[in-house]
């Protein structure tokens, strides 16, 4: 009896939901991020960033005859692929989302893409998955990302070093997918440009002693030591060892090494060190930060802008296609993201939708200067850092 009651109640609820769906003009967007897990400190700002774009469009009433857009949050956990897959499955089958913003970490992104998005034909844009492996993932054209692949950063760092005339370098990377992918990308670009990598060796994070690594790197030699690790982890230990033993005084660093604790620890000992980290000087970034702080969000938080852009891209593509069906609007994402057309900054989504509805074209720049290349990859813009007088300084963007 109890079971029958439950079943009836559930049936009524489902019928009610279906009824509501068919009569209201509502578009649901799934926001699947690691609200628990290793990057749980970043995800609230990322989700809030995406929801800013959603609210902006929804309040304008311009999209698809005044459709309201709502968000449904789900937890990707960042590390547990099974949990992320189940959460994404739920978003599609029971919440009936039309677009998916996320997931965040590269591992779960690959799993959700292969197990949920591709079988269900769902469009997904990840704001923060940077693994080079995702470039070649089987995605039926459904997967995009607004954060650039680490392969791109390897290329940028290699170019900066070659331009500075550093033609021989030793490389050490943190022993995980990020470090390995980054180091491989760096090495191939650097060698293609005429540089020589004397030794590429991994280091484990959180270990007791790095003198063995430093010894090998020093023996291999080079004009600079490339450290592709984490500043709060082994990367700092390796630099400390290299400075102390006088093995290297010139360093080149990846984004994981750029942080205040770097200069707090080494100060002017590492003057002249160069580094790269995602960043851009487009006016959209400043505008987004302003809008975010007005909404009570930290807009400078990592990947918050990318999240805004990911959500905005899908909504603009819907406007361009005149439909919220993923199969219809997926082909429009690259069109709205890239030139030609009128440049669109954060806060101008309503204007963009108007242009698109009138049959025009837009070039969405957004908070991070979005530009999609290849198979839906962000071209990426990187800030070039130099350590001067013990402080990190941005000297340019590329």
């Amino acid at each position: 009896m109890k079971k029958l009651l439950t079943a009836t109640a559930a049936g009524a609820l489902l019928a009610g939901a279906a009824f509501a769906d068919s009569h209201s003009n509502e578009i649901k967007m799934g926001i699947i991020l690691g609200f628990t897990g290793p990057i749980e400190s970043l995800t609230p700002n990322m989700a809030a960033g995406a929801e800013m774009a959603i609210n902006e469009v929804s309040e304008s009433g311009a999209l698809l005859d005044g459709a309201t857009v709502t968000s449904v949050r789900a937890d990707s956990t960042c590390v547990d692929s099974a949990a992320a897959t189940a959460a994404a499955e739920r978003l599609i089958t029971s919440d009936g989302i039309k677009a998916m913003m996320g997931p965040d970490c590269s591992g779960v992104t690959g799993a959700v893409l292969a197990n949920v998005a591709v079988p269900n034909g769902m469009v997904m844009i990840s704001p923060s998955a940077t693994s080079p492996a995702l470039t070649d993932a089987e995605d039926n054209g459904l997967f995009f990302r607004t954060a650039p692949s680490d392969a791109r950063q390897g290329e940028v760092l290699a170019n900066i070093m070659l331009e500075k005339g550093i033609s021989e370098a030793a490389v050490t990377y943190t022993n995980n997918d990020y470090g390995k992918g980054f180091a491989d990308a760096f090495q191939s670009s650097y060698e293609a440009g005429g540089g020589t990598v004397t030794l590429s060796t991994p280091h484990e994070d959180g270990k007791a002693d790095y003198s063995a690594e430093v010894g090998s790197l020093a023996s291999a030699g080079g004009d600079a030591l490339v450290v592709l690790g984490y500043v709060d982890q082994g990367g700092a230990g390796v630099i400390q060892g290299a400075i102390d033993s006088g093995a290297f005084d010139m360093f080149a660093l990846g984004d994981g090494m750029i942080g205040d604790s770097l200069t707090a620890a080494f100060g002017s000992d590492i003057d002249g060190t160069i580094g790269t980290a995602p960043g851009s000087d487009n006016e959209g970034g400043a505008k987004f930060a302003e809008m975010a702080s007005a909404a009570g969000i930290d807009g400078t938080s990592v990947y918050a802008g990318e999240s805004y852009d990911a959500a905005a891209l899908m909504l603009l593509a819907m406007a361009a296609a005149g439909s919220s069906d993923p199969a219809d609007y997926v082909g429009k994402i690259e069109m709205v993201a890239n030139a030609p057309g009128e440049t669109i900054l954060p806060g101008e989504l309503a204007k963009a939708i108007q242009i698109l509805s009138d049959g025009g074209d837009v070039d969405y720049a957004g908070a991070t200067g979005v530009e999609l290349v290849g198979s839906g990859e962000a071209a990426g813009s990187y800030a070039e850092f130099v350590v001067e007088d013990g402080a990190l300084k941005v000297v340019g963007y590329r």
Binding site: G206, G215, A220, A236, G246
Partner: protein
């Protein structure tokens, strides 16, 4: 001749000095492990985190002293804070002994049960340290960083290779020698030390001859807390303080204690250096040294690295396995496992 000097300097800079300093830190840690094994008869997995707890107290006191403007000139202020760190660590281990280990001792629990208990204690210490000081990296070293820096050495001698000698490395080695000497004097010459050794050799006989077991246990914990804190502070000064790395130190420390022979203090010291030298030496790329030492015709093209640095932990364990296979009691005839 210059080439020979350059080769020797490079070897000292990248292998000898780091390995001696690291070996001293491991030796002090392994001494604590070996004392507990010899006297209390179990492998104390909480030792790494005991080091972290002691060091944490020392770091907090160091910050206090620095805040008050106290300094030791060229020496790190943390040396003044070591006694306070020892007090803190001693209080914690004695409380643990009173409320945890004593219960199992009274039951005459098997060593393997005590090992598991010590793992529980390890996790609690681990959490305790993180709650108080946080999981981040903390630097508390001050004073003169180098006795001689690589650049000064190069300018001074005109050699191509630099030789860096950090103050902390010198302090580490000197302190280790002093502490070890004091420990051996204590164990061999004083009445309490002798009763501890008697207790270690044969518990029943020792009890019959009127040795108070609780006193032996108390003194052992006090010594272990001191050794752990000294080792932890020296290690933290040389690198930096981070709760998690002390947990990671546990493996090389145990490897050192077992290689040297568990329960044998001399073995713990030898084991520490064996592990440190093999970690650094076997994974070192010898190219740099060989280029200086060999005639030009024989200079190597490759890096001459026996094993890549990824395998440096494997090195400790290979040595461990070999020693256990051929000499289960360790190099210095400790107790068999």
């Amino acid at each position: 001749m210059i080439d020979l000097l350059n080769g020797i300097v490079a070897l000292a800079n990248f292998v000898l000095i780091p390995a001696i300093a690291y070996g001293s830190q491991l030796a002090l840690g392994a001494l604590g492990v070996t004392l507990i094994y010899g006297i209390l008869r179990f492998s104390n997995f909480a030792h790494g985190d005991t080091m972290a707890v002691g060091t944490m107290f020392a770091v907090l006191v160091t910050w206090g002293l620095q805040g008050m403007g106290v300094s030791l000139g060229p020496f790190p202020t943390a040396l003044l804070a070591i006694p306070f760190g020892i007090l803190g660590a001693a209080a914690i281990v004695l409380l643990t002994d009173k409320y945890v280990y004593k219960f199992y001792r009274a039951q005459k629990a098997k060593p393997v049960i005590l090992v598991i208990v010590s793992m529980g204690v390890m996790f609690i210490y681990n959490g305790f340290t993180r709650i108080i000081i946080g999981p981040d990296d903390h630097r508390f070293a001050d004073g003169e960083r180098f006795v001689i820096s690589a650049r000064t050495f190069r300018d001074m001698t005109g050699l191509e290779e630099g030789l860096a000698l950090r103050t902390t490395q010198v302090i580490t080695v000197v302190t280790a020698v002093v502490v070890v000497a004091a420990l051996f004097w204590f164990l061999n010459k004083t009445r309490t030390g002798k009763s501890m050794r008697a207790f270690s050799d044969n518990e029943d006989l020792a009890l019959l001859s009127g040795i108070n077991p609780e006193r032996v246990v108390l003194v052992t914990w006090l010594i272990v807390a001191s050794l752990a804190t000294v080792a932890g502070v020296l290690y933290g000064l040389d690198k930096s303080f981070k709760a998690f790395t002390y947990f990671q130190l546990l493996l090389p420390i145990f490897a050192a204690a077992i290689v040297g022979g568990l329960g044998n203090p001399l073995g713990a010291i030898a084991g520490g250096f064996v592990i440190a030298f093999s970690e650094v030496g076997i994974t070192y790329a010898w190219k740099k040294v060989l280029v200086y030492l060999m005639p030009p015709a024989l200079e190597p093209d490759g890096l001459v690295q026996i094993l890549s640095t990824e395998y440096k932990f494997a090195v400790s364990f290979v040595i461990l396995v070999i020693v256990l296979l051929f000499r289960p009691t360790g190099l210095f005839r400790g107790k068999s496992l």
